[in-house]
Symmetry: C2
Subunit: 148 residues, 2 copies
DNA sequence: TCTATAGATGCATTAGAAATGCATGATTAG
DNA sequence: CTAATCATGCATTTCTAATGCATCTATAGA
C-alpha cells in the first residue's frame, strides 16, 4: 500500500553553496596564506571549473581577495571570525523569496509567504551564529589540509 | 565588472510541496465538504497528474481522506486547526538531512552538519506555528474558491 | 447489471536548471 | 617572453522534478 513512485525529496542546498563553504573553510584553515583554486579543487576532488566561477562570485561579493598572475591565489578578505555561514548561504542561495506566488490563484489573501519568509530568517539566524572559524570541531581538525 | 554567468540561485521549495499546500488549503477552505482532485487542479490550473500523486501521498501520510468512485473526492483527515504547515513540509520535503557529507573530505572534523540540522529545525519550528486554518489572512479570503 | 465518475498506480517522457567542460582572454612574477 | 594564475563566455552534460499517458480499481446511481 506504499507508493511505488518515489519522489527524491529535496530541501537541499546546492553544490554551489557546498563548494563555496568548503573553499572558504579551506582558506580559513590556511589563515592568511595564499592558496590557488586548483589546490582547493584537488584537495576536495571537485570540478575546478565550477569552483572557479564560485570563487569569482565570492570575490565580487567581498568574501575573498584574489590575486592574478604567477604565484597568485586567494585569501579571505576578512578574518574568519567575522564571516558567518549565514552570510555565505544568504549570498550563494540568493536573497530572493523561498516561494514563488506569481502564478498562485490565492496569493492575494494567503499568509504563507510571510510565514515562509519568517522561517527562512530563522534558518539563517542559526547559520549566522556560526563563523568560518567555528567550522572545525577541534583546533587541528583540518590540519590534514595543510599536508599536500 | 559583474558576472555574466548567472546562477539561478535556489533555496526554493519544490512544486510538489507547493501543490500539496494549495490542495490542503483548498480542502480547509471547504471545511469538510468532499472535493475532487480535478476540481482543485482546475482551480489552480495545475497538472492533474502531478496533483493526483501528491494527494495519494498525502492520503498515505494521513493528511487527507480519499473516497473512490462516483461522487468520491477528498477531505482533510483532521481538522485544519490541527495540521501545521511544518508537518506538511516536513513530509513533502523529506526528513533527511539538508547536506550530504558522504563525499566531503573534511566531514570528520566539520561542525557544519550540526549547524545546518539546527537551522533546519528552526525553519520548521516557525512553520509549525502556522496551521492550515491560519493560511487565510481574512476569514473570507478564499471565498472565491467556492464559487465554481 | 451496466455505466459513468472518481481515485490508484506504473511507466515513459519532457523540461529546466545545476553542474561541468572547454576554449580563450587578462594579469603578473621571474 | 613565458609560465602560472585568475577571468569570462559558451556549449554540453547530467540530474531530477514535473508532466503525460495508459490502465486498473472502486463506487454511486440509472
Amino acid at each position: 500500500m506504499q507508493l511505488e513512485y518515489i519522489y527524491c525529496k529535496k530541501m537541499k542546498l546546492t553544490r554551489y553553496t557546498d563548494y563555496a563553504l568548503r573553499a572558504l573553510i579551506y582558506l580559513a584553515a590556511h589563515d592568511g596564506g595564499l592558496v590557488s583554486i586548483r589546490q582547493i579543487a584537488q584537495a576536495h576532488d571537485i570540478s575546478q571549473n565550477h569552483l572557479m566561477k564560485i570563487i569569482q562570485d565570492l570575490g565580487a561579493a567581498g568574501f575573498v581577495k584574489t590575486t592574478r598572475g604567477r604565484h597568485g591565489g586567494l585569501a579571505l578578505a576578512r578574518p574568519a571570525a567575522e564571516i558567518t555561514i549565514g552570510q555565505v548561504v544568504r549570498h550563494t542561495e540568493g536573497d530572493s523569496r523561498l516561494v514563488d506566488c506569481s502564478t498562485c490563484r490565492i496569493a492575494e489573501g494567503c499568509s504563507l509567504p510571510d510565514v515562509f519568509s519568517e522561517a527562512r530568517e530563522a534558518f539563517l539566524a542559526v547559520l549566522d551564529k556560526c563563523h568560518l572559524s567555528d567550522a572545525a570541531r577541534t583546533p587541528d581538525a583540518f590540519r590534514h589540509l595543510f599536508v599536500v
